[in-house]
């Protein structure tokens, strides 16, 4: 056992800080004056979350006693276990908010996709780093790694959990990028997402983005065919989005997109969430309305205010100071974790830490982006802050594994 001083205490502090803020916000969102309008099953969320915090804390400590090699050895078993759980969920799971993602035995249960995240990360990382000199530059290996990620992605899709599926998909470019995919090619991989996002706002923005990205890719890679492919992909993305918006999507999906680009178009329907969320944050001002004083929160104008819109609760009741602290903490989290990866010598550990950071970041950006109206509303929890047992437990487990690998980084040789 190493000296406990070598534990990355700053990350533990950030975990603690985010968790505490989360508990305060969940308390306000479910046990404040608003509780009058909430069913009792929601009112106990604070206590449930507090319980998970305690369990998670014990787990974080416990994980530090495991040898990091165990994660490598168990990665495929873990992955297989996760997949079986996913299939079982699909068959026998409970539907919550339209997604069949809850699997439980007796009083114990959780979202199997949460466990699948870390399982997939470990499996993909093990696969890509299990032998020397293999990297994503080798197309065959790269494709296998992509398949390892895509299998759970499809299962999550089938569970009808779009947000989580998005997290898995976003992992693909991150892992490939880290495993040595040239920067230009990596950029090419994520360019449809950027172009697609801008195309929803306006097709001309998408087009401009396609042109700029093509130029950047050419500048980095100096490969004509890649640039041409990139440009064609960009054009296809822009027209694809246009086609989807005007022809393919169902009215309620279009309504959601329209609500994002122009919430006031339909203020009581699809635009409701966006308007209420931004109003909650904006009306918080610099210092906020005070703990349990937010009218948007306490009068239940916010949907799912203990999970997907927890950021609005903080914004409304603690103002710019509150949201600023949250953003600062997340900023530190991302920087510290990536530094941790950079300082590690073992490629498996590096890839796992980078992937975990990416998962945190995607959750963070989609959650906060939805709440602030930067993105269409996609329901994803804010890591460590939102209410959600399995989510909190698994996010903590991921952090614990990263801390563990960092803790043992000197013993965790590059060579096995």
């Amino acid at each position: 056992m190493n000296n406990v001083k070598e534990l990355n205490w700053s990350l533990i502090f950030i975990w603690f800080a985010l968790t505490t803020i989360g508990l305060i916000a969940i308390y306000s969102a479910t046990l404040g004056p608003v509780s009058e309008f909430l069913p009792s099953s929601i009112q106990i969320n604070f206590y449930k979350q507090a319980g998970f915090v305690v369990i998670s804390f014990i787990m974080v400590i416990g994980v530090q006693f495991i040898s990091p090699r165990t994660f490598i050895q168990l990665s495929y078993v873990f992955y297989l276990f996760g997949l079986i759980l996913m299939v079982l969920t699909l068959l026998y799971g409970k539907e919550i908010n339209g997604a069949r993602s809850w699997f439980g035995v007796g009083p114990f249960g959780g979202q199997s996709s949460e466990l699948m995240k870390i399982a997939t990360i470990l499996a993909a990382a093990n696969y890509l780093t299990s032998r020397r000199d293999i990297s994503a530059e080798n197309v065959r290996y790269a494709l296998t790694a992509v398949v390892i990620i895509l299998i759970p992605t499809v299962l999550v899709f089938l569970q009808n959990d779009l947000g989580t599926a998005l997290v898995f998909i976003a992992l693909i470019p991150v892992i490939l990028f880290w495993s040595g995919l040239p920067y230009g090619v990596s950029l090419f991989f994520i360019s449809p997402a950027i172009i697609g996002y801008l195309s929803v706002i306006g097709w001309h923005y998408g087009l401009i983005a396609a042109i700029i990205l093509t130029c950047v890719i050419f500048f980095i890679q100096r490969r004509v065919w890649l640039s041409i492919t990139s440009f064609v992909t960009g054009i296809l993305t822009v027209s694809g989005v246009q086609l989807a918006i005007t022809q393919l999507l169902q009215p309620h999906q279009i309504a959601r997109i329209a609500a994002f680009t122009n919430p006031s178009f339909d203020p009581t329907g699809a635009g409701w969430n966006v308007i209420q969320a931004t109003t909650a944050i904006g009306s918080g001002g610099l210092t906020g309305k005070g703990f349990m004083e937010g009218t948007q929160t306490q009068l239940k104008f916010l949907p799912e205010q203990w999970t997907d819109f927890i950021f609005c609760v903080i914004g409304e009741e603690f103002g710019f100071i509150g949201t600023g602290v949250i953003l600062l903490l997340f900023g530190f989290l991302f920087i510290r974790m990536l530094n941790m990866a950079g300082n590690h010598k073992h490629p498996f550990a590096q890839l796992v830490i980078v992937s975990v950071t990416a998962v945190y970041f995607i959750h963070f950006f989609i959650n906060v982006g939805s709440a602030t109206g930067l993105l269409p509303v996609i329901g994803l929890p804010l890591p460590f802050v939102s209410y959600g047992g399995s989510s909190f437990l698994m996010n903590s487990l991921m952090l614990a594994i990263c801390l563990n690998m960092d803790f043992y980084k000197r013993e965790f040789s590059i060579y096995r």
């Binding site: 309008f37 009068l299 949201t323 900023g331 602030t372």
Partner: protein
């Protein structure tokens, strides 16, 4: 080793730059929302949880002349839905709370959805207070469901009064343009007193500010300088005598026609019936569409106010007034005698059904001799008095707006030369066209209200009064306020002339054809029968009367459409009412029974 390590460092930096970059974007966005646009969102947040609500003022109540409550208000509870916010899983709960079937709720919600996805529609109305309060408590479980309390008119009388009170309907576009205090969905009076006294009865809505949650539930009432209390509508005290009105409607039931009972000294209307009546309570609250369509399509036109809107030739009822005009014009005196040979010859014979013999003025009125009045009209026409005649007849309230406080009162027609010119063309008419007006037929027309008005003028000794239904208004601030009504002496009528005419009318009751029904020794009555010739069917029967003879307290004018002779159709109705009003009870049951079992018979003119 150097190369991959470099790559690692660069990759770390790239990822850090991207992540921090996007964190900064979010920070910028949050700064924009919370600091730069704070004022906008602060106001939005305030407005969100703040609802301005109008408090409808209680509509003024309606009382009879003795303070008996006739019309008051009762609350109606309604449930609304905003389909876009409603969750269909809650249909069962809603159905359970309302005590109706799931399928009915589903159907109502589908209807609302078809109307509008986002607008709020009323799905259940006039539900019980119990269901209403249950739903109110569970509102947080029922997103998209709202509630509403309105009030509707309740008619606490044992009579209909439909043509006095009138009904309320939702205001239309023109109403909104005319009155900027009206809001969408407000109901306003569309007929009767409700219409004329709309502004008096309505009151002023109050404004309150409520803190509400996302379900629209009220959290608290916010004290605000901008909030105002509603000002309750003023109560109306009418001149109607509830007992008399009730009896009048009973007597008119099954007949078609109009009736007006009036206090001749003031013009106060004691009873007003237009038969058939309609059921106001079925037009109150939510509109009973089937009933509304039915009464609109009904061939007996129950919505038509026969008491004040009807225009019929007044027939012989106008003879007393014509006699007064004749005396004033100097064409006749009380002693003028005209021989009735069965017809008056002027180019052609004009029939007279009165017994053959000599008629002075009094007798001519009592036995309704046409010859006497044809002769008078002949003089009026040939001596160029038509316009004076017309002007004087208008002083009795005929052919002029009646100034009653009820809507749609007809003006009627009293022709002068200008009118004749427009009908027949300049020089296109002659004495022959005027003759029949001498006995109240032809172009002459009036409503039962106008006949009552005219009779009042004679009964009260030549004073013009204003017919009216509202005696006073009352509100907590200014208390009881009597409405000012005019009364003025008609200068040209002198007392001695009136005495002669009244005696003639007294004779009608004692000696005339209606004596069997009308001659009540307890209540000395005076009156005049009339028959309005009806080219479309059976003649209409008229009767107008006042009592007691020496100190008239009531005038009753009755028109029974297609009733035949007024003496047998209209007169008995008036006799019962007069007895009831003066004596307080009906002792002459044979008249009452006759009226209740009345069957009309043809007149002689029809049999020819």
């Amino acid at each position: 080793m150097n190369n991959p390590s470099n790559r690692t460092r660069t990759s770390i930096r790239v990822l850090q730059v991207i992540m921090i970059g996007l964190v900064l974007v979010v920070l910028g966005r949050v700064f924009f929302l919370q600091v730069i646009e704070y004022d906008t969102y602060e106001a939005m947040g305030e407005r969100n949880a703040l609802r301005q609500e109008y408090i409808d003022p209680a509509r003024g109540l309606i009382y009879d002349r003795h303070g008996v409550l006739l019309v008051d208000n009762e609350p109606i509870y309604s449930i609304t839905v905003t389909p876009s916010l409603f969750e269909r899983e809650q249909i069962t709960l809603l159905a359970e709370l309302l005590g109706v079937s799931d399928s009915l709720v589903t159907e109502k919600i589908n209807q609302a959805q078809q109307y509008s996805w986002y607008r709020t529609s009323i799905i259940f109305t006039e539900i019980s207070f119990e269901s209403f309060s249950n739903i109110q408590e569970r509102l947080w479980q029922l997103p998209g469901i709202g509630h509403q309390i309105e009030s509707k008119r309740r008619y606490v009388t044992d009579f209909s009064g439909s043509h006095i009170f009138g009904y309320l309907r939702e205001a239309n576009r023109e109403d909104y343009e005319r009155n900027d205090r009206l809001r969408l969905g407000d109901k306003i009076g569309k007929s009767g007193l409700e219409m004329i006294y709309e502004d008096t009865l309505r009151g002023v809505p109050g404004v309150q500010y409520l803190r509400v949650n996302a379900f629209g539930q009220t959290i608290e009432n916010i004290e605000s300088e901008m909030s105002t209390n509603p000002v309750q509508g003023k109560d109306i005290i009418t001149t109607i005598d509830a007992e008399l009105q009730s009896l009048a409607e009973e007597l008119m039931e099954g007949k078609q026609g109009g009736l007006v009972a009036m206090d001749p000294k003031t013009g106060a209307i004691l009873a007003l019936v237009s038969s058939p009546e309609y059921d106001l309570s079925r037009l109150s609250g939510r509109l009973d569409t089937d009933y509304w369509q039915a009464i609109n399509a009904d061939s007996t036109t129950p919505l038509y106010n026969r008491a004040i809107s009807n225009r019929q030739p007044p027939g012989s009822t106008v003879k007393p007034a014509l006699a007064l005009i004749g005396m004033e014009l100097g064409l006749i005196t009380p002693n003028t005698t005209v021989y009735n040979s069965g017809a008056y010859i002027r180019g052609r014979p004009y029939r007279d059904t009165a017994p053959i013999g000599n008629y002075d003025l009094r007798k001519a009125i009592t036995f309704s001799s046409n010859t006497f009045f044809f002769s008078l009209m002949d003089d009026v026409a040939t001596k160029g008095y038509l316009n004076d005649w017309s002007k004087m007849l208008k002083d009795f309230g005929l052919g002029v707006p009646s100034e009653v406080d009820l809507p749609y009162a007809s003006t009627g027609i009293v022709p002068d030369s200008a009118y004749m010119n427009t009908v027949f063309g300049e020089r296109g008419w002659g004495v022959g066209d005027l003759m029949s007006m001498g006995i109240g037929q032809g172009l002459l027309s009036a409503s039962p209200l106008q006949i009552a008005h005219m009779t009042s003028t004679i009964a009260n000794g030549g004073n013009r009064v204003q017919p009216h239904v509202v005696l006073a208004t009352r509100d907590p601030v200014s208390g009881l306020q009597r409405r000012k009504r005019f009364k003025s002496k008609i200068e040209w009528i002198d007392d001695s002339s009136i005495e002669i005419v009244k005696k003639g009318m007294r004779g009608v009751i004692v000696e005339g054809g209606s004596a069997y029904f009308t001659n009540n020794p307890e209540v000395p009555t005076a009156g005049k029968t009339g028959t309005a010739q009806n080219p479309h069917g059976r003649d209409h029967g008229w009767f107008t009367s006042f009592a007691p003879f020496d100190d008239p307290q009531i005038v009753v004018s009755v028109l029974i459409e297609n009733g035949g002779y007024g003496a047998v159709s209209a007169a008995p109705v008036a006799a019962v009412l007069i007895e009831k009003y003066i004596e307080g009870e009906i002792s002459r049951n044979f008249v009452y029974n006759y009226v209740m079992n009345f069957v009309s018979r043809p007149t002689d003119s029809e049999l020819e």
